[in-house]
C-alpha cells in the first residue's frame, strides 16, 4: 500500500481519554483518509504531556505532506514545540502546531487534509475557528 499522501494530524491532550475521544471524532469524519495519532498523559499514565510520546505520535502520523498538531492547555503546546525541535531537521519545517481548539480544530484540520490540501491550508482552516 502506498503511503497516505495527505497531511497527518496529531492530537496532544493532557488526558489520554480526551485525545482518544477527539481522535474517534476525527475518524468518524475522515475514516482512514488521513494519517492520525493521538497522545495524552504523562509517562506514569497521569494527566500531563510527555515529549517522547509526542515524538512517537508524530512518527505514527507522519506524511511527506507534513503533520498538523492540535493541543489543549499550555504544557501540551510547550512540550509539542520541544518535540518538534527534537525531530530530524528535514521534518521540522513540515510540522505545525495549530492555534485552535483541540476537538473542533482536529476535526476541521482532518476534514481539510482529507481533500488533499497542503499543510498551510490545513492549519489555516483549523485556526479560522479562533476568529469565527
Amino acid at each position: 500500500m502506498p503511503a497516505n499522501p495527505n497531511v497527518g494530524i496529531v492530537i496532544v491532550s493532557h488526558s489520554a481519554k480526551v485525545a482518544e475521544g477527539a481522535a474517534d471524532m476525527v475518524r468518524q469524519m475522515v475514516g482512514d483518509n488521513v494519517p492520525l495519532a493521538s497522545v495524552g498523559g504523562n509517562a506514569e499514565g497521569g494527566l500531563g504531556t510527555d515529549v517522547a510520546a509526542i515524538m512517537a505520535a508524530i512518527d505514527r502520523a507522519w506524511s511527506e505532506a507534513g503533520v498538523a498538531i492540535l493541543v489543549d492547555l499550555g504544557g501540551a503546546e510547550t512540550n509539542s514545540e520541544m518535540a518538534v525541535e527534537m525531530m530530524p531537521e528535514e521534518r521540522r519545517e513540515r510540522i505545525v502546531i495549530c492555534n485552535a481548539p483541540i476537538v473542533e480544530g482536529a476535526v476541521m484540520a482532518a476534514t481539510e487534509a482529507s481533500g488533499g490540501s497542503a499543510l498551510a491550508v490545513v492549519r489555516a482552516t483549523a485556526e479560522e475557528l479562533m476568529s469565527a
Binding site: 506514569e44 504531556t49 515529549v51 492547555l73 504544557g75 512540550n79 520541544m82
Partner: protein, 200 residues
C-alpha cells in the same frame, strides 16, 4: 569542575526539590494544575539516577544532559522550561566558568526561557527570579554565595502581588494575585541549593 562537585550539585538540587515537593504542589494547587512539585521531583530524581553518566561529562555536556532529562521526564510545562534553561547554560558555559561566564550564560539562558514560554519579566513566572539573580551575578558583588539565595527568595516572594499572564494561572486572572508563583519558588530553591554547594 571536578566530578565530585558536579555530583554534589545534582544531589543538592534533587534533595531540595524532593524536600519541597509538597510545598511546590500546594502553591500550584492554588493557582495552577497542582502538579509542579511532583513533576519537578520526578525530573530531578531521574537526573540523580543518571548522575554517574552525567558527572563524567565536561560541565557544558553535563548541563545539556540534565536539561534533556528534565525535558523528557518532568511532564508539565516546567519540563521544557527548566530543560531549556539547563541546555542553554550548557551551550553558553565553558568547562571551568568564572562568575562573569555564569552571568553571561544565565543571561542567554533567560532569553531562551523567554522564547520557550513566550513570556516576559513581570508576568509572575520563574523569569522574575532568574533575572534579578542574573543581575546580581553580572554586578559581580562579593559574598554571592550568601547574597544570591536572598535575592532569589525575595524575588520569589515578590511574585505574590503580580497577576499571572502566562500559563495555567493566567486563567485565574485577578485571582492569581496573592499567591507566590510555583515556578518562581522552585527557581529560588534551586538557586539556594546551588549556592549552598558552591558557597562562593
Amino acid at each position: 569542575m571536578d566530578d565530585a562537585l558536579k555530583r554534589r550539585l545534582i544531589e543538592a538540587m534533587t534533595a531540595t526539590v524532593v524536600a519541597y515537593a509538597d510545598e511546590l504542589t500546594a502553591l500550584d494547587q492554588a493557582i495552577g494544575d497542582g502538579d509542579h512539585g511532583l513533576n519537578m521531583k520526578r525530573g530531578f530524581e531521574a537526573v540523580l539516577a543518571d548522575a554517574d553518566t552525567i558527572v563524567a561529562k565536561p560541565l557544558p555536556e553535563a548541563l545539556k544532559a540534565i536539561g534533556t532529562t528534565l525535558v523528557m521526564k518532568v511532564g508539565g510545562a516546567s519540563g521544557p522550561l527548566y530543560g531549556t534553561l539547563f541546555m542553554s547554560l550548557g551551550k553558553a558555559l565553558p568547562a571551568e566558568p568564572t562568575i562573569a561566564d555564569l552571568a553571561r550564560a544565565l543571561g542567554a539562558a533567560i532569553e531562551a526561557v523567554k522564547a520557550r514560554g513566550k513570556s516576559e519579566l513581570g508576568q509572575k513566572t520563574m523569569l522574575d527570579v532568574l533575572a534579578p539573580v542574573q543581575a546580581a551575578l553580572a554586578a559581580g558583588e562579593t559574598d554571592l554565595g550568601m547574597r544570591l539565595p536572598r535575592v532569589a527568595n525575595d524575588a520569589a516572594a515578590a511574585t505574590a502581588p503580580l497577576k499571572a499572564i502566562r500559563g495555567r494561572a493566567s486563567f485565574l486572572g485577578e485571582r492569581s494575585i496573592g499567591h507566590v508563583d510555583p515556578g518562581a519558588h522552585s527557581s529560588a530553591l534551586l538557586v539556594g541549593a546551588i549556592c549552598g554547594v558552591l558557597g562562593a
